[in-house]
């Protein structure tokens, strides 16, 4: 019986309990956030935007009500979360369209563009947050 190979850990389908111990590259972070942001946009974004559009267009009174709803801190925070989701989904999506066309496929370029996606979506969110909460 020569050398039964020692059991080494295998990562095939990652289980939830392994997520924290798994080293996800930055492109992987952008990827999973693309999915999370998409789910958020579907679950909350679509009904909320449709409702807000309806309120804003139905009448002058509805528009005023829409502005009041917008001014509420809870709405602002929800819209900021959705704005982040949209911005991330938007920029990451453009990155995927470029990758599909074989632009920036190399390891360094792909990691760099992933970083750009994170920076852009967070910047848009932070800048809008400052504007919404009247810092400037």
């Amino acid at each position: 019986m020569a050398g039964v190979p020692t059991k080494r850990p295998e990562f095939r389908n990652i289980h939830v309990t392994q997520i924290l111990g798994y080293r996800l590259p930055i492109a992987g972070i952008v990827s999973i956030l693309h999915r999370v942001s998409g789910a958020l946009l579907f679950l909350i974004g679509l009904p909320l935007i449709l409702w807000l559009l309806q309120e804003s267009l139905v009448s002058e009174l509805g528009f005023e009500r829409f502005l009041v709803v917008l001014a509420h801190p809870v709405t602002k925070l929800s819209l900021l979360a959705l704005l982040w989701a949209f911005a991330h989904h938007f920029f990451a999506g453009i990155r995927y369209l470029l990758l599909d066309n074989h632009i920036g496929l190399e390891k360094e370029a792909a990691a760099f563009s992933a970083k750009i996606v994170l920076v852009l979506s967070l910047s848009v969110t932070v800048v809008t947050a400052g504007r919404l909460f009247g810092i400037y």
Partner: protein, 116 residues
């Protein structure tokens, strides 16, 4: 492998893949057009906002953009179901509910626009 057909998948993958990208491009174009249109408004008030959407061309463009969003959401959500929901019955039920919901959203959007 058996010959049994998988009810929640029928080799439409490439078509979905391509349409997901086409709808994404339509959404980007619509979003940029809307952004420009709103920035060009002399002032953000009800009159200007409603006039913008009362325009027939704007209604049609918005409906096209909306349909692109709904189709895009369908492909994306279906991908999520296919990855995490393994029992066929539950997956099929969720897919059916999602189709109903998204179709409803489409009619809702049309109603909002053409009531104007």
């Amino acid at each position: 492998m058996s010959n049994q057909r998988i009810v929640t998948g029928a080799h439409y993958g490439l078509g979905s893949w391509l349409l997901q990208r086409l709808s994404a491009a339509v959404i980007v174009l619509y979003f940029l057009a809307l952004l420009v249109a709103v920035l060009l408004l002399p002032e953000f008030n009800y009159g200007n906002w409603a006039t913008l959407f009362a325009n027939q061309l704007m209604k049609v463009i918005t409906l096209i953009g909306g349909i692109a969003v709904l189709y895009h959401a369908w492909v994306g959500v279906r991908d999520i179901y296919m990855d995490y929901i393994k029992p066929t019955g539950i997956r099929l039920t969720l897919q059916a509910l999602t189709v109903l919901l998204l179709t409803g959203y489409g009619f809702w959007l049309a109603m909002i626009l053409w009531r104007l």
